[in-house]
Symmetry: C2
Subunit: 252 residues, 2 copies
């Protein structure tokens, strides 16, 4: 989805995509990083919500009958703001993850210091769902293999990573990082990005995609709005871990 | 280089390539994994040499005036055989690395159990050269980010990885792993493979290549014999680590 400057419109857009995905019988639905706010300092600060705010309730409501990984939203906790993924299954919160590795870069036309206003999380999160264990990470976290190694202790079959790359890091690293984290962990990886918006202050790369435990891309979007719909064969995780053993446990 | 079944011929071929690279003013020269023996159990056992054998002396001799990373050779130590990289600078041994993660796979037409006759090494190796620190790994090691994380403590600017992938794992993972280890460590990565040989019992993938700290491929071979000659700008390591800071120390 394309993220607008209106928080309410963003929730409305998200609900339309969730409905469309449900009609396609999706069982796990993933929204993009910062799906309810433009990726700018001022918007993230202004749109942050304490506790169970509007976006939280929206996600809870919309998770009826499915697993919903709510992209991420700015979450207020006292003085701090976090970049947080909330996960729900059938109306119940089943976990949340606060982005640990914040996006601080200064390269070729893009300078951004997320750590200037976002507080880093402290704990990795692997959620238990009715379909199996899923590791959660956000965007810049993809650059840290040790974060995934920590999550591997709980042995998820799938990592879901809301990720708003940009038009420098996107073409260079987005697919490479998805494939390499998938190959390293011999798991599925799903990246979900806001659609490109050349008028936005920060233009996301788009290109949501899903990779498999052999490092192949299964499906991908271009930079526009849309849905990546992909069947996942959990048993393929174990097949690859048997054929190419690199010290991974089998999933149950 | 193409590896033949004659150990002596392989040393001869290697010396010709080393001479050619020296004429191009190469300062660091890298040979392929198991450059003196076909990649088969029987050859590796038969061609293994104790202590300072023929291949060792050959490498030492040929390292005059350069840094020579001697691909790897089967190294005998008492009852054990290791898959070992010896490194020399100007006639002096400056380090050796025994492959830790052995090649045990059973997939699509290729089944190989290196651990059936090779003993795994126990220690990572980062060598100090007159041009800077270089981390050493071999082939299957590329699949283990934690091995590179351990070497990162000594902060090399370059990792050299003799690597005889095959025609299944090669097209699927060879370049992906080089680029991802380079991006994860924000360092240069050089992979050196024997040339393809469709008549060999184990046909190497070829495609020796060098990647940079941004994850780009700088130069690569096809599957035939040849030399990848590449200038490396060490300062580019620090540039990337400043522009895209992911907790790496700067190199000196």
């Amino acid at each position: 989805m394309k993220v607008s400057t209106s928080k309410d419109n963003n929730l409305k857009t998200a609900s339309l995509f969730i409905e469309r995905a449900k009609l396609s019988e999706a069982e796990i639905i993933v929204l993009p990083e910062m799906f309810n706010t433009p990726y700018t300092k001022s918007h993230m600060i202004n749109y942050a919500e304490e506790g169970q705010g509007k976006a939280y309730k929206f996600l809870k409501e919309n998770s009826k009958g499915i697993i919903l990984i709510g992209g991420s939203i700015p979450e207020k906790d006292g003085e701090n703001i976090y970049n947080t993924t909330f996960a729900f299954e059938n109306g119940i919160e089943i976990g949340k993850y606060r982005k640990i590795n914040l996006f601080d870069v200064d390269y070729d036309k893009i300078c951004f210091q997320e750590s200037g206003f976002i507080t880093p999380g402290e704990n990795t999160t692997v959620i238990k769902t009715s379909l199996g264990k899923i590791g959660l990470a956000i965007c810049f976290d993809l650059r840290f293999p040790d974060l995934f190694q920590k999550m591997e202790e709980e042995n998820p079959f799938l990592y879901i990573v809301p990720a708003a790359f940009n038009n420098v890091s996107g073409p260079a690293h987005y697919k490479l990082l998805a494939r390499s984290r998938g190959l390293d962990t011999q798991s599925f990886i799903a990246l979900c990005s806001p659609a490109s918006d050349l008028n936005a202050e920060y233009c996301p790369y788009g290109h949501s995609l899903i990779t498999d435990p052999w490092g192949n891309v299964l499906s991908e979007m271009d930079e526009t709005e849309g849905i990546v719909l992909q069947n996942i064969d959990k048993e393929y995780v174990n097949q690859i871990r048997c054929e190419l053993p690199i010290k991974k446990k089998l999933i149950k």
